[in-house]
């Protein structure tokens, strides 16, 4: 017997589901760390500056690129999920909407990457 028909198995829908889960979990764990490191402003300026200084290292600059990428994907795929749940039109075009999410991702990353890498590596 073939598996039950669902929007979420196979092709774009399934891959976007996987992207949504993995980016969500990654962002959640970053959020835990980010609240803790920000809390150091209540300890002392020295403690906060020492830890936040790690964000300015080349390795972490790359991690930030991944973080921003994850947030953009999770955000716009989230809007796609809302639309697919809400409107029949979006449900019918959910595969196209998946590619629109990747299109928005490409545009926003193209805007973010050069400036962020200049700040992180170029001293600009």
């Amino acid at each position: 017997m073939p598996p039950a028909t669902t929007l979420y198995r196979g092709r774009e829908g399934m891959w976007m589901w996987l992207v949504h889960r993995t980016t969500g979990v990654a962002i959640f764990f970053f959020l835990l760390i980010h609240i803790l490191d920000t809390s150091l402003v209540r300890v002392s300026p020295e403690a906060y500056n020492a830890v936040i200084g790690m964000y300015k290292t080349p390795v972490y600059a790359i991690v930030e690129v991944g973080l921003v990428a994850a947030i953009i994907l999770h955000a716009f795929n989230g809007l796609r999920i809302i639309a697919v749940d809400r409107w029949t039109w979006a449900l019918r075009h959910q595969r196209m909407l998946s590619w629109i999410v990747w299109g928005i991702f490409a545009v926003l990353m193209a805007g973010f990457l050069p400036r962020h890498l200049m700040h992180a590596f170029g001293g600009a």
């Binding site: 969500g24 002392s44 300015k56 989230g78």
Partner: protein, 152 residues
């Protein structure tokens, strides 16, 4: 493709999955959607201001935070991000635990770890935002925002 063999109308009715539906109450879905939309505005503004304006990531230090939190708007902005992002993340992680954690003990441990860490970080973050002192006594003046010179 298999898609063409499937008439659209039956696919429109929700398909109950074994674990999530029934457990994930309607309010959880609604909260996830509402908080998600608000978080897009809050977080994209946060990233734009902190990473793209000025000197980007290299400008962030104690004085930068103190400068932002001198305005109540940014304290409430960050408080809203804290509460909504933790709530949204807790809710999502809770569903993932429901989907994958099996047995009698492991799901309980994971659910309670999530609840405790969420509440602890919400309280910690709120205290930090609203009891923040931009000009702590005895700190190196070079690390403080410039307006501290007028305060002391």
């Amino acid at each position: 493709m298999a898609r063409s063999a499937t008439p659209a109308p039956p696919a429109l009715t929700p398909i109950p999955s074994r674990r999530t539906i029934g457990r994930a109450q309607p309010w959880a879905w609604m909260f996830q959607r509402v908080s998600g939309v608000i978080l897009i505005v809050l977080i994209f503004t946060h990233l734009f201001i902190n990473l793209l304006t000025g000197d980007g990531v290299s400008q962030i230090d104690f004085a930068f935070v103190a400068g932002k939190w001198a305005a109540p708007l940014w304290r409430w902005w960050d408080f809203a991000m804290l509460v909504l992002a933790l709530g949204h993340g807790y809710n999502g992680m809770r569903m993932i635990v429901d989907d994958y954690a099996h047995g009698r003990i492991v799901p309980h441990i994971l659910h309670w770890s999530l609840r405790i860490s969420t509440v602890v970080l919400m309280v910690l973050g709120s205290l930090v935002i609203f009891t923040f002192d931009p000009c702590p006594l005895g700190a190196d003046p070079a690390l403080l925002p410039t307006f501290c010179e007028d305060v002391r």
